[in-house]
Amino acid sequence: MHIPDGYLGPQTYAVLDVAMIPIWAVAASRVKKTLKAKQVPLMALGAAFSFVIMMFNVPVIGGSTGHAVGATLIAIILGPWAACISVSIALVIQALLFGDGGITAIGANVFNMAFVMPFVGYYLFRLIAGDSPTTRRTIVASGIAAYVSIVAGSIFAGVEFGLQPLLAHTAAGRPLYAPYPLSVAVPTMAVEHLLFFGWVEALATVGIVSALVKQDSEMLAMRPAAKPLRWLWAAFGILVLLTPIGVLAPGTAWGEWGAAELGARLGFVPAGLGDLGSAWTAAVPGYAPAFIKSPTLGYLFAAVLGSALVIGVSWAVAKLLARGENSRPPKDARPPTSPTTPS
């Protein structure tokens, strides 16, 4: 996900470079308050760990390996603001010391991997793990948070690439920087992270959190005390209320055409698609319930219903996990292992 120089035009990299300045300022101020004088060595070691974790090859499937970014893990250990600084420093060192990632694109790389990833990962982890998480819930929450956070970071990178043909092109419409439009760049980045890199990130994070839970659970309680997530619910409610904006967008999303629309585009409907397309009829097709005439109210109803279902299913799964954890007999205490003796 390291963007080199040349893929992003000045309109994009300058905005992201400038956008990171207040984020870094707030992060530095928060870290100063929470970590006090110990901040420099802790940040430095956090950054060094963030750098080194990217060097580990994690085996996935079929002999293939990949490397994790570790932003969610560091956010779980140190908190999101400290993770923002640590991962930023690791990325700056990669650019200035190893030439990995561009100089002008530092803001974009930091935005995707040191801002989006730790914050998405951290708050999702807290949302799933809850205030007094069990071991299993902590591990499951860390895996889901790591997976979603890297996919979120990749989508942001895809949007940055996909905006280039719109922002900078010749008089004939030919792109001057990254050449692929949003309809190609975003799905490409998202799919490769959904299918491969997301699993690498999740497997690495779950493995490390599981080992830390067994060997040094205090490390998972190092981050500064967090405030309740009421604001997150308020922000979520506002987003639900804003969903009718989607009604303003004309047409169907790229690649999500129904049989009729595909037939109009291609001149024929593939036989398999024609057969399977009508095999299942959704309860609320097209986010427009039949009993609500207004498209805006229909969209709003679909958003509330969908969100309630997702929250309900997540809550039920969390309850089941917690029950399973509480019913297990406690394990024998393990002798503490020294962190200075590699095996």
């Binding site: 120089d5 070691l45 190893f98 030439g99 040094d216």
Partner: protein, 290 residues
């Protein structure tokens, strides 16, 4: 000792390297790169002699100017400029070109190839492969992206290969980057080398004990456990480092004894760089508007 001679011989085998060996090699390479970069940056050459602040500012100027150029020829001009500066700084032009073209350029080529096809960029067909035919405007877009990425990589490599890490940190301090950031950057680089050595040794120890490659699940379990070990070691080392800082009188600030001074050569370099960028962008405007 002829009986032991085979031990020193590099193992010649067509067998695929194990995961532990591959990671140990990559990590060892990264450590060597950190140490080599400092050695290369200490050589007497044009850019090594410059004040680090001026050099950082002018390299940033080159990078921004290259990002504003749209003509293929002007972008190639920026690549040539970076290569010329590398030669004047006594860097190996072969290594420099290999890094710029075979690494950054090659990946850019792979990424941009689909854009050269009629599927993404319709236009006059140069080589016909059905929907994957290479078109003239598509090829130009792909080649221009490769040249742009190579220009950026070449300019970036000049910072990496001509500036010692300590000089870079002094330059950042002089450019009013907060002390917290500079101190953290300084400490991070040292800790990276320490942690990389630990990772390399752990993987070599694993390699030496393994008779078979092991399953993916076994390897994954071992790798993530080692990652957790590095995480614990990092946090424990942070405590030790902090204690050492306190013992040396650390009170929140990290003063530097180095005073950077600009000379006539630095000012001449600044003017020459600015004029070169202006000339290249002027040429770009003329060539691109045709």
């Amino acid at each position: 000792m002829p009986a032991l001679a085979h031990i020193a011989e590099p193992r010649r085998t067509t067998r695929r390297r194990s995961l532990a060996r591959r990671t140990a090699d990559a990590v060892g390479h990264a450590v060597t790169e950190v140490l080599d970069n400092d050695e290369i940056a200490s050589r007497p050459g044009l850019m090594q002699k410059l004040d680090a602040r001026v050099k950082l500012a002018t390299i940033l100027l080159f990078a921004v100017a290259a990002s504003f150029a749209h003509s293929l020829w002007v972008l190639l001009g920026f690549v040539a400029l970076a290569s010329g500066l590398a030669a004047a700084s006594r860097l190996s032009v072969v290594s420099f070109s290999r890094k710029v073209w075979a690494s950054a350029g090659f990946f850019a080529l792979l990424l941009s190839l689909p854009a050269a096809t009629a599927w993404i960029t319709p236009g006059e067909v140069l080589v016909a492969f059905g929907p994957l035919s290479i078109t003239k405007p598509g090829l130009y877009i792909a080649v221009r992206l490769v040249a742009r990425v190579a220009a950026g990589a070449g300019i970036g490599l000049l910072v990496v290969w001509t500036t010692r890490w300590t000089d870079l940190l002094h330059a950042l301090t002089a450019l009013h980057v907060p002390d917290l950031v500079v101190a953290t950057l300084a400490m991070t680089q040292k800790q990276i080398v320490t942690l990389l050595r630990t990772v390399e040794n752990t993987h070599l120890a694993r390699e030496s004990r393994m008779l078979t490659a092991g399953s993916a699940a076994e390897n994954r379990g071992w790798v993530t456990e080692r990652m957790a070990f590095v995480a614990r070691k990092s946090m424990k080392t942070a405590d030790d480092v902090y204690d050492a800082m306190l013992a040396r009188g650390y009170a929140g600030a990290m003063p530097s004894l180095v005073r950077l001074r600009t000379t006539t050569r630095d000012w001449a370099w600044l003017v020459a760089s600015t004029l070169t960028c202006a000339a290249l962008l002027g040429a770009d405007k003329v060539v691109f508007s045709r």
